[in-house]
Point group: C2
């Protein structure tokens, strides 16, 4: 096997710093503890490898464009278990360098050998920034996309690899990426508001008891506690698998990235003014959903024979492990078909952790009548603890530590915060806050595609209800059984 | 307010290292990212302050022993929201230094002021190792206990504080600590075995699909995946609130600590041979439970007027947020009243993270007949990811990251591993592996205390079962309603 350990690992806790991540110096030991180490679990690799949409896209991108791989040198950045490197080799690559920062490299090496490709694929354990290759490559392939595309900031490593190791005629896989936002309706906001309220009720009880039983007045902390809870429940973006019918307006692209030319400074911040037209009659604007897609188009001078796209947009059948990020608006606003939403979006890296993002959203509603509704401002930042950086499945993250913790509370990721300007909207007659229950789908004709039609049908006639009557004999039998067993009290 | 920032914070990501934690150098930036930062949430403080058993013990320890505090100088190590410092002041202390490494110090300062004690309590934000006090103190008070006492390794900071700042005549609060283990029965092992099995079934499907659809053979990873899953499901100790009736033998003390004299080297490792006598007829040894208690006895020359104890032993009414740690034995062993269990226990700090522990358990069963059953060996180490070090409530830890992750999987903390020696026990006739269902409690007279009697009653006559028959008219009405509604199909 031609594999070897190359360069320094991200894992050495040497405390060396570099400023590549844009501004904040990065402690490599902290970064490894928080980020890379979590990708070293096979369970996590399996979950990503089980994402059919993700797998199909990369598989098709490689095998429908073998001309890019045949006889060429390929670099796989962040190889994980090595599947992209193996596909590249199977598509005819002369040599594949698979660089992986974690000890997953060892497993990748085993898989490469088991698939008899050890003469083509060389697995290198090391961080991309330190690795030295014996040659420049024709293709760089990588699955670097985090939640809402840029979380994890792994694209930095791909840029570094490209600038150091891609031939001037080389091709990037994927070649392009786009970030999208769209207005949505969701019951999540109501749920989170309830959670927040009951958390504050809890706090009141707590301060009362601490004062009465233990003689200490903690009520001075009510305000900071409320802020902490608001941030947690209402100002944090949420991972969600949105149904397409929850999207209530046109999606707007807020960032386009050409992977061949983008620099780190291009992705340090994302700033965009966007507009969206509401496509649904009389509905609630509950917030924005954010997602991304990537394309495999090859290079202008050397295009793909068959272009492939991987999208993480809301979908009934093709949802991905990335899901969408939901940025809640609190309170929601009443809008209707034809209204224009003019928004601005800004995202930058968190100062505390360059792999997390801080987001600001704002939007104004221009009604069809021409009336302009006061500006809604949403601030969203990645308040999540540092260990939630990666796309790590829940189970490897969570030791159940407290019997009183409810799992229902464990679903947050980022955050959303609303200025007084938006709070005043509650008194604007046009923007009455509606309960989720009154927000039944009312589709405009233009939006009644197949999926939404199916959804309307479901609302009126839940599947299988007619089957319920067949259960009645069973229920009657059970009643009889209970009566019988109750007449035979067990011996103590 | 006499508070100020003192010394260096643990939070500076300077990457400086020290070797105090015994062996492995500690990167302060990593340590802060993994450990201290999680204690900076008010929600977390509230959860600890809501632990009534914990609060009562410290409250009574202070107010029933005011003579230790009156007119004295007190140091609170890891003050959190400052409650122990405030109680010390209320009990008459002349001066209290409240040292807190996180930004929680700011909140503590506010609480101190709100309780009008700013002239007595000085809150100092800094790590105990760096703080400089203007005088030596008469009392050191601290709530430093982690899961199973020593997890978190926070006692190191208390020792450091004591050696630097306690007067020769000073008193430690608490003064003593003891670690306990006892044989237990539990259904957790069966549950975890099922989880492991279905995880492996899942893996088989995954490798089949990856081979058939994507042309890559991943089966070479089956063994490492199985090891990873075994470690996760079966070789990790579990947080659990055991019921006293689950304890099936005498508890054995495995470590006693005199807080006035213990050194860091005394607690780097815990090694103990212990024995326990089974107190229940014909039951299953499913593993060991581990817990601790601490005592407030003052000092030999200056004893407590009223001794107070805080125990985290299994309890019906007085359970704590520490719960107990469960170390599973796989497969369980049949034992009965009078059998002797001779065990050895060894715990040392994890090389990767000095705040986590690696544990080895072994035990042999000496039956009353004198027959010696082969040695059972259990290896348990703290495989938990580094962010589970603290007693942090679930909700602040877990972003829900993957739709396929089940919350039922999110309950692990440490781990337990069984050698071939114990596996061979399955064929020992005396040690037939029993299913949980056949393991109904059979209490010896000696063990039938009030709580367990109540439990037996519950098992034979689940509460409220007799009420079920009153539901039958409702069920019949529902059946009629369903039949009626099914005869009126809704308009589409």
């Amino acid at each position: 096997m031609g594999s070897h350990r190359n360069g320094g690992r991200g894992g050495d806790q040497s405390g060396t710093s570099n400023g590549d991540a844009g501004g904040a110096p990065v402690d490599k030991g902290v970064d490894f503890a928080n980020y890379f180490c979590t990708y070293a679990f096979l369970y996590h690799q399996k979950e990503m490898l089980s994402d059919r949409v993700r797998m199909d896209a990369y598989y098709n991108a490689v095998f429908k464009n073998k001309h890019h791989f045949h006889g060429q040198a390929v670099l796989d950045v962040g190889a994980g278990s090595g599947i992209l490197a193996i596909w590249s080799a199977q598509a005819g690559a002369r040599k594949v360098y698979a660089v992986e920062a974690t000890s997953m490299a060892e497993h990748a090496r085993a898989v490469v050998k088991a698939n008899n490709l050890q003469d083509v694929v060389e697995v290198i354990e090391g961080s991309m920034e330190d690795v030295v290759l014996p040659e420049k490559v024709d293709v760089i392939i990588s699955e670097w996309m985090g939640y809402f595309l840029l979380r994890e900031s792994m694209f930095d490593s791909v840029i570094c690899a490209r600038d150091r190791w891609l031939k001037p005629t080389g091709v990037m896989y994927p070649s392009h990426a786009t970030m999208w936002v769209a207005p949505i309706r969701t019951g999540l906001g109501d749920q989170k508001n309830n959670d927040y309220d009951s958390s504050m009720d809890d706090w009141e009880r707590f301060t009362d008891e601490t004062k009465n039983y233990y003689g200490v007045d903690m009520s001075v902390l009510t305000k900071p506690f409320s802020q902490e809870q608001k941030k947690y429940y209402l100002q944090t973006s949420l991972w969600n698998n949105l149904h397409p019918h929850q999207v209530i307006g046109t999606a707007a692209s807020i960032k386009e990235i050409d992977c061949l030319t983008a620099s780190v400074s291009d992705i340090l911040e994302v700033n965009s003014n966007f507009s969206s037209t509401v496509t649904l009659q009389n509905t609630r604007l509950c917030g924005y959903g954010g997602w991304f897609d990537v394309q495999f188009r090859g290079r202008k001078e050397d295009p793909a024979q068959e272009e492939v796209e991987l999208t993480t947009a809301p979908s009934v059948d093709d949802s991905t492990h990335w899901g969408q990020q939901v940025f809640l608006l609190n309170p929601p606003a009443r809008i209707t078909e034809g209204d224009k939403l003019n928004g601005s979006f800004s995202m930058k890296r968190s100062k505390e952790n360059h792999r997390l993002m801080e987001v600001e959203f704002s939007c104004e509603i221009r009604q069809q009548s021409g009336e302009l509704v006061p500006r809604l401002v949403a601030l969203c930042s990645s308040c999540s603890p540092s260990f939630s950086i990666t796309r790590l499945p829940l189970r490897l993250l969570v030791p159940k530590m407290h019997r009183s913790s409810s799992t229902a509370r464990a679903s947050e990721e980022f955050l959303v915060n609303f200025s007084p300007a938006s709070l005043s909207l509650a008194s604007t007659p046009l923007l009455k806050t509606a309960a989720a229950s009154e927000d039944l789908p009312v589709y405009s004709n233009g939006n009644s595609d197949h999926a939404t039609k199916k959804e309307i049908g479901l609302l009126h006639n839940p599947p299988g209800r007619e089957n319920v009557i067949h259960l009645i004999p069973v229920v009657l039998f059970l009643c009889g059984f209970i009566l019988w067993i109750s007449s035979h009290p067990p011996k103590m």
